[in-house]
């Protein structure tokens, strides 16, 4: 009993940290632009497919495709921002919601057309198998994905705090008009944030591809959960999203273990609803 509990706690951390990485990209985009990127889950899917094809066609291990996924999604994010999202930035709010929704539907269907709706797995990634630590079974790829997610998140926070560009992003996030008056090129910051947010989810895709199945609709539930994490952590708060991601990992795993697994997502969304009811700005929002 105690052994299984420990196992479940470890599992919570493993899934939670990956949720965090997926959600951080989303919250960055929201914080800077006040746009909810509904295509976020589909970006994750694209990241996973890039990793899958590099492995299948060129034998490149998913671990090595991480930088390629990051760059690929960075460019994709940049393109989508420049040619689609920026066009509606000054338009009505509804247009901003609908445009990323359209991108989402387009990407998922494009993936079905190009790659069929079949399920794929990367068969023999470099990292596979499990370590047995006492009574706990630790999946090696999940562990690496988890540690990697924490490292990438920490790097992002450092980048935002310590570099000029990072500080400019934070400035725009706090107050767009003032930032503009201070001589910050907000349009460039927008594009950059959208691209960085996309690159982060691309990295998450590469990590997930080491152990998760890949198919065109794989982003669906991940996207939904990351919206919930972003709201829970406080819109635009990187640290908030990180903590909320881990928290959701715990709620989902332990909720499923102690109560009824059939309701684990209901419990997740209930925790979210209660939090925004008591603290509408989220855990670390302002």
């Amino acid at each position: 009993m105690a052994d299984q509990l420990l196992q479940q706690i470890v599992n919570s951390l493993l899934i939670g940290s990956v949720y965090s990485l997926v959600a951080i990209g989303l919250t960055l985009i929201w914080g800077v632009m006040n746009i909810i990127n509904f295509a976020h889950g589909d970006f994750l899917m694209i990241g996973m497919f890039i990793s899958f094809w590099l492995y299948t066609l060129y034998g490149l291990d998913p671990l090595l495709s991480i930088p390629i996924c990051a760059v690929g999604l960075f460019l994709l994010g940049m393109l989508i921002y420049r040619f689609i999202v920026s066009k509606v930035m000054t338009g009505p709010g509804l247009a901003q919601v609908v445009v990323t929704f359209g991108v989402s539907i387009f990407l998922a269907n494009l993936a079905v057309m190009l790659w069929t709706p079949d399920f794929r797995l990367i068969e023999k990634p470099l990292l596979s198998g499990t370590w047995t630590l006492g009574a706990v079974q630790l999946s090696v790829p999940k562990f690496v994905a988890s540690v990697g997610s924490v490292m990438v998140s920490a790097t992002l926070v450092l980048f935002l705090r310590k570099t000029r560009t990072g500080k400019a992003i934070l400035a725009v996030e706090m107050n767009r008009e003032s930032a503009l008056l201070m001589g910050i090129n907000t349009e460039r910051i927008n594009a950059l944030s959208f691209a960085i947010g996309s690159a982060l989810v691309g990295i998450a895709g590469a990590f997930l591809s080491m152990y998760y199945y890949i198919y065109p609709q794989v982003g669906g539930l991940f996207g939904l959960i990351s919206f919930c994490i972003v709201a829970l952590g406080g819109f635009g708060s990187i640290e908030g999203a990180f903590i909320a991601g881990i928290l959701i990992g715990f709620v989902q795993t332990l909720g499923g273990y102690f109560f009824d697994p059939a309701y684990k997502y209901a419990i997740v969304f209930m925790v979210y609803l209660i939090t925004v009811w008591i603290r509408p700005q989220g855990l670390l929002g302002w």
Binding site: M1, Q8, M113, Q217, P261, A262
Partner: protein
Amino acid sequence: MGKMKRREFLIAGASLAASPLLVSPLLAQQRTIKIGALYPLTGNLASTGLDCKRGVEMAVDIINGKYDLDVPLAKTEGLPNLGGAKIEVVWADTKGEPKNGQAEAERLVTQDKVVGAIGAYQSAVTKTASQATERLKVPYVCSDSSSPTLTERDFKYFFRVSPHDGTFAHDQFAFLKDLEKAKKQKVETVALLYENTEFGSNVGKEEQKYAKEYGYKVVADISYAANATDVTSEVGRLIKANPDVLMHASYITDAILFTKSFKEMGFNPKGMITMAGYLEPGYLPAVKADGNAVIIRSTFALDLAKTKPLVAKVNELYKKKFGIDMSENAARSFTAPLVLADAINRAKSTDAEAIVKALSETNISGNQVLYPWKGVKFDPKSQQNIYATGTLVQIQDQQYVTVWPFEAAAKEVIWPFPAWKSRK
């Protein structure tokens, strides 16, 4: 890719052609007879939906063309009693959701004027879709949904060809009893694991019932959401319960996810008897050798060709058309259009009441179906095929082989399951 484009084109084309202004109804009736087919062609179950669609396309080819097969309507082109009229399928995409099942069924009847409907794979979707057709008084023949409740509704227009989960659940326990008797294996406890929609939850109910009847102790009863991203908490509960046998009713994504989690967390019961997801054509390519030893309820396996030459012949045609072997899904979906077309032909009319009457008089013999059944004949009250029975297949060396009933087995069942490390 080419196939997808063609599908889009067909849907667009079908809806255009459906406009009543373009074609006089009388003329249309003589040339083609439209039947509606509902499947999850996009969404989570898209790969399953396409597989079912291939089965239907194969059947329609056989009906409309001339083939030397012992299958209803194979030897003639089209429906002979209706002047050789061809069957035309109007496809509807349910996206795997009950609400679309209903809306699409309504569209098929009111806009496309189909004379009958088939599909929709998921029981929850078939339920709403067939409610719509019942209300609109259009016959619905189902050969791919297995929830028992579908034929417990006293519907007049709904018929089911394939066995339902009550039969399958019964089979699972009958198998365990046979196993104890024939192979001297000891089984005492079972854990039930099932997805929480119409299909899974009814399987759970039936399994509870038969566990009691056959005297097995249920040590865990776990339902879960099939679209979960992580199932480690479910597996944790199973490990704690430590059952002799796991019974799992799943769809495809969850089957893959659970298999990986079982291995990762070292859940290794003596045996696993499963439903649905583990038979999908996407399952084995995704999990490879990790799928070995799993037992699945089935109606069809290619090794039936040994005792049924028809299976080999149809599979040969299928392989020529699609480049792959026929799967259980395709084989199940294959039958509904044949049964419906056979009834329309005997009714000599596209009138709904006449078709329903003909359906209730259906009597297709065992050697005309792809399964080890005595044939197709509907119960007058429930309209469930009284001859439908199930088999169990086991994955051995990444192939599905029939292992039960023991007398129809192509290979000896592997039991207890080997440890994860030795499943190669």
